[in-house]
Symmetry: C2
DNA sequence: GGCATGTGCTAACTTTTCTTTGCATGTGCC
DNA sequence: GGCACATGCAAAGAAAAGTTAGCACATGCC
């Protein structure tokens, strides 16, 4: 199920200090964007970009909720995952890597 | 022993299709630069750049040798590794992440 | 010598990624 | 209304990474 392209995407997503910190912060408990940005000491727009990438890679999930006092808030939480990186695992993943020229379609 | 910075470096190194292919190719048996470039269908300078990054991350090792017919050749082989990626592992790694401002020195 | 093979380097261009700035929306409360 | 808090988006600039092109060197063989 985990194709080489997906692995590549996850690796590219994890290869960033901000995103690792976001994952670490959310690892304990879920949080909403503004608060998380304050805790990490980064701007909200920047955090949003990274959260979007993390979500696109399937590492976190965002849920829009409305707080008691009516504020629209977006909570993010970590999706459990476990990826084992070994030369053999990579060898297997590479076999399902998409080549620039040939798309997933036929021909 | 594996600091967050090292993990980050390895992740950044692995997050590239060429480098994954190089690892996969070397996973079976070691090879020298020119031949590897032909097999992967990429230019030699490009391969060298990627090999250097892989070596800098500690994933492969290069050895200069002289073939029977006197040609100077550089063989690369994969260094065995096993990295487990989970939210908990990342949380632990982040604790040893270097912050831009504060270097490994004190103050 | 000329050609095929191997190595190395790096300047320069292209592409991608990261980050900031700025503006839009909405709610509750004094 | 005005302020504090929440969300969203996107243009534009800055920084990093990837890639190519071109040069250098050496050896063996016809």
């Amino acid at each position: 199920m985990t194709s080489g392209d997906e692995l590549l995407k996850v690796l590219a997503t994890l290869a960033n200090p901000h995103r690792l910190r976001v994952l670490a912060a959310l690892s304990g408990e879920r949080d909403y964007v503004s608060r998380l940005a304050r805790e990490l000491g980064i701007s909200r727009p920047l955090l949003q970009v990274h959260l979007r990438k993390l979500e696109a890679a399937g590492l976190v999930t965002g849920r829009a909720e409305v707080s008691e006092d009516g504020k629209a808030m977006k909570f993010y939480e970590v999706n459990p995952f476990r990826i084992e990186l070994t030369p053999q695992a990579i060898e297997a993943a590479v076999r399902t890597l998409t080549v620039p020229g040939e798309e997933k379609g036929d021909r």
